[in-house]
């Protein structure tokens, strides 16, 4: 149940800071583990972590915003990465990205849907150039995509979600 998830997440944050003895020099591993729980680093949670570690929230934010691996905005349940490395780019990954942006009403500045279902991001080489153009959905690799097959993939997910609801 949803409530349980939230309770559990906050409980985990408490466990994580305790596990690292509230040691400010362990900020990065702490943030990594916290991010696993929330899929991003919510402002309130960073403020709480700062309080626990007796650090200034400005410093915690500074660290979190420095590393590309930390997400400061909520991410969707499905994170779609479209490869924009050279091979994929040449084979038309741009069109796939535009198609998904259009379908989900997203853009480079607004990568996540309001219902927090999808995040679409262009990334550099996913290391699967043989399958270009490539996209991943929650790390699962889909190769030789076209705008149409990418849209179909999204439709499948939406259908599945609708079934579960």
């Amino acid at each position: 149940m949803e409530t349980d998830t939230k309770l559990r997440k906050f409980g985990r944050v408490c466990e994580i800071v305790d596990k690292y003895d509230r040691n400010p020099s362990k900020l990065i591993p702490i943030l990594q583990e916290v991010q696993k729980e929330y899929r991003y680093l919510p402002e309130e949670v960073m403020t709480y972590v700062a309080t626990c570690l007796d650090m200034s929230p400005a410093r915690v934010y500074g660290v979190a915003s420095f590393y590309a691996n930390f997400a400061l905005e909520p991410k969707g349940k499905y994170v779609v990465h479209i490869c924009d490395g050279t091979a994929c780019h040449v084979k038309g990954s741009g069109a796939i990205k535009e198609a998904l942006y259009k379908k989900l009403k997203l853009s480079g500045d607004k990568p996540t849907t309001d219902d927090l279902m999808f995040t679409v991001e262009a990334v550099s080489c996913l290391g699967a150039c043989g399958l270009a153009p490539v996209m991943t959905v929650n790390e699962k690799v889909h190769g030789q995509m076209t705008a149409e097959s990418a849209e179909a993939l999204i439709d499948d997910i939406l259908a599945e979600e609708a079934d579960n609801a």
Partner: protein, 669 residues
């Protein structure tokens, strides 16, 4: 002399002795090295690279981060070094918003100064990044990130001297900025408005918020009577705006200039400082007699007051209830001047000239307003006054001295030395000692009080009584003592706190000085002024006693309390951060908000929160109850704080919370 060590700088032998880095030695040899990120009082950062030197066998290194070794052969201004520096300057300038003609820092700006010195005539690089928004949220400071050159001086000053860390670097690469947490505006975080960041900033990226336009408007309104008060530290620094040495006492010229600007009466905040001495000393002696709520902390520094409200509210009862001299002046002027000057209360305007940015914030505190009218209408800094004098075309240096108006312009030397660290303590000692023993305090004690260390502790004897004093400047130095007081582990009697390193003379509103000796010279100016005056004990101020007789009644009495004292309370460090632990906001559910702000956290609110969550789970109350964590209800001194529905519970325990929850749930059913 046998272990006298030397290095060779530009072919000449230079001795050194204890300097931490090459830069200091080079400067000691009268060679000016350009620097942006070096401050002798802060840690070494080594980012601007302007201080590069060429050392034989080592090549080009930054002198600020290189330790001296005897025999080093150093060159500071070779052709190569000059060219490299010029390129660094151009790179800095490329990303800097070059709006010098409209920048308030112009003529005091280090970037401008060094660019001219290095003879930078063009900038060959393209600007990267786009325009960033100004932060005008605070009453004290304006941040313009477009002018920031990322030297980090402000970040280190706030962290290392004030121990706050309200601003820090964020993001990376071309998007790097210096910002408050989560890129909020400065008003929403725990900044205390001391302005230290603005004083160390080499550019106009952080500046005191100007109020000169408001003051011009007031002055141009013919129907108003405008009076002005001047803080002690202003008179020893205003001259610097006109090329005079730091510490030059310019009181008379300043009074003349203010009259020329159109102020009707010119008064002295030092009068109110004398008033503070009487009120605060009596408050202190009463506490000492009853041995309660000791130590007593001074309350004249608004940055310190904000700090203690947001970070140590448990010790608020230890903070003197006295208003600061600025605010004492404000309330006494509002009370007495309409009659003395024969003006309608609503036609009286009160302006302050302060060395300080936090005073701007203080004047706007609701405690110091009556029916929406602030006691002090506008606060301008020494810098702003200098600019107004220039705008009016007044030839400051040519002016003939004029004197303050009476009665609120009369002071003793005790009211003057308030402007430097140790000054408040010394003023209190002078009064207390004469009051209790009829003797002046021991000169040795005074010498120790006048020392300059960031924290000095000293026991003085007054007659039979022993008093343990602590004098602190720089808020980082107060942290440990504040913790001891909170834990009941501190046996001091009296603690003077000023946020600015050196006291008000170095305030962020003072003229910008790149000269390390300026604060020393300004402090000396105040002590010299004290010597020049006839009286040195606040109690000898005849106008003060007349003021008590005519308006205030007894020292510490009823009327005095109403006008000269105040009450402070807990304040949150961050604006509205709340997070749900249960699901999305459900208005109809009973909200249980547990405070996890710093103070409550230290009192065990994490455990409390976990226990409440367990209880909710065990009793299966998810459908009725929504658990939230909140940062600070501003009742930190009675934490842990929990709000159940509309009921705020102080010193909450899991038992009392569950009881209250059940009670309210039953009512709901």
């Amino acid at each position: 002399m046998e272990n006298k060590q030397t290095i060779i700088i530009n072919g000449r032998e230079v001795p050194f002795n204890g300097q931490k880095n090459l830069l200091e030695i080079i400067r000691s040899a009268n060679i000016e090295m350009p620097t942006f990120c070096y401050h002798s009082e802060l840690s070494v950062y080594g980012a601007c690279r302007l201080c590069i030197v060429d050392i034989e066998g080592m090549g080009v290194v930054t002198s600020c981060s290189t330790a001296p070794k005897a025999g080093m052969v150093v060159r500071t201004h070779t052709d190569k070094l000059r060219k490299m520096r010029k390129i660094y300057m151009e790179l800095l300038l490329a990303n800097h918003h070059q709006s010098c003609t409209t920048c308030a820092k112009s003529s005091m700006c280090k970037l401008q100064d060094l660019a001219a010195r290095m003879d930078v005539k063009e900038v060959r690089f393209q600007k990267t990044g786009c325009e960033k928004a100004l932060d005008t949220s605070s009453p004290s400071l304006i941040r313009d990130p477009n002018k920031c050159i990322l030297c980090g001086d402000c970040v280190r000053a706030c962290d290392e001297i004030q121990g706050i860390g309200a601003i820090d670097f964020a993001n990376r690469g071309a998007s790097t900025t210096v910002v408050p947490a989560f890129e909020k505006d400065i008003k929403s975080v725990d900044c205390v408005y001391c302005g230290l960041c603005a004083s160390v900033c080499p550019t106009g990226a952080i500046m005191p918020r100007p109020e000169t336009e408001a003051v011009w408007d007031i002055l141009h309104d013919e129907t108003k009577t405008v009076v002005v008060q001047i803080a002690p530290a202003v008179r020893v620094a205003i001259g610097e705006m006109f090329g005079l040495e730091p510490g030059t006492i310019s009181t008379g010229k300043m009074v003349a200039a203010l009259k020329m600007l159109g102020f009707d009466k010119v008064f002295d905040t030092s009068f109110a400082a004398d008033l503070t001495v009487l009120e605060e000393t009596n408050e202190f002696l009463k506490r000492k007699e009853k041995n309660e709520k000791l130590p007593l902390f001074t309350s004249c520094c608004p940055a310190w007051v904000k700090y203690v409200e947001q970070s140590f509210s448990d010790i608020l009862p230890h903070v003197s209830s006295c208003r600061s001299p600025q605010q004492m002046f404000g309330s006494v002027a509002r009370e007495t001047l309409p009659k003395t000057l024969d003006v309608k209360p609503e036609d009286l305007h009160i302006v302050s000239i302060m060395p300080c940015t936090a005073k701007k914030f203080e004047a706007k505190r609701p405690e110091f307003m009556k029916n929406d009218q602030p006691d002090v209408d506008a606060v301008i800094t020494t810098q702003e006054l200098g600019r107004m004098i220039k705008q009016a075309g007044i030839q400051f240096n040519q002016l003939t001295s004029e004197s303050f108006d009476m009665p609120l312009g009369f002071k003793t030397g005790a009211g003057i030395i308030f402007g430097t660290t140790g000054g408040v303590s010394e003023a209190v000692l002078r009064y207390a000692s004469e009051k209790l023993t009829g003797q002046k305090p021991d000169p040795d004690d005074i010498a120790r009080v006048r020392a300059k260390d960031g924290l000095r502790v000293h026991t003085v004897k007054i007659g039979e009584a022993e008093l343990k004093l602590a004098i602190v400047h720089g808020l980082k130095n107060i942290c440990e003592i504040a913790e001891q007081v909170r834990d009941g582990q501190c046996d001091y009697d009296f603690i003077e706190v000023m946020a600015c390193p050196g006291g008000c003379v170095t305030g962020a509103g003072q003229p910008v000085s790149h000269d390390d000796t300026a604060k020393e010279l300004r402090a000396r100016g105040l002590y010299n002024k004290d010597k020049d005056l006839q009286l040195h004990n606040s109690d000898d101020n005849p106008y003060l006693h007349r003021c008590y007789q005519q308006h205030l009644g007894d020292i510490g009495g009823h009327k005095a309390h109403e006008l000269l004292h105040t009450k402070y309370s807990s304040r949150k460090r961050f604006d509205d951060v709340e997070f749900l632990i249960s699901e999305e906001h459900h208005q109809e559910r009973l909200g249980v908000n547990v405070c996890v702000g710093t103070s409550c956290y230290l009192r065990g609110s994490q455990k409390l929160l976990e226990d409440v969550m367990k209880h909710v789970k065990k009793q299966d109350l998810h459908e009725q109850v929504e658990v939230r964590a909140t940062f600070c209800f501003e009742t930190c001194d009675h934490g842990p704080t929990v709000r159940v529905g509309e009921t705020v519970m102080k010193k909450a325990t899991v038992e009392t919370i569950c009881e209250e929850m059940n009670r309210q749930l039953q009512v709901l059913v």
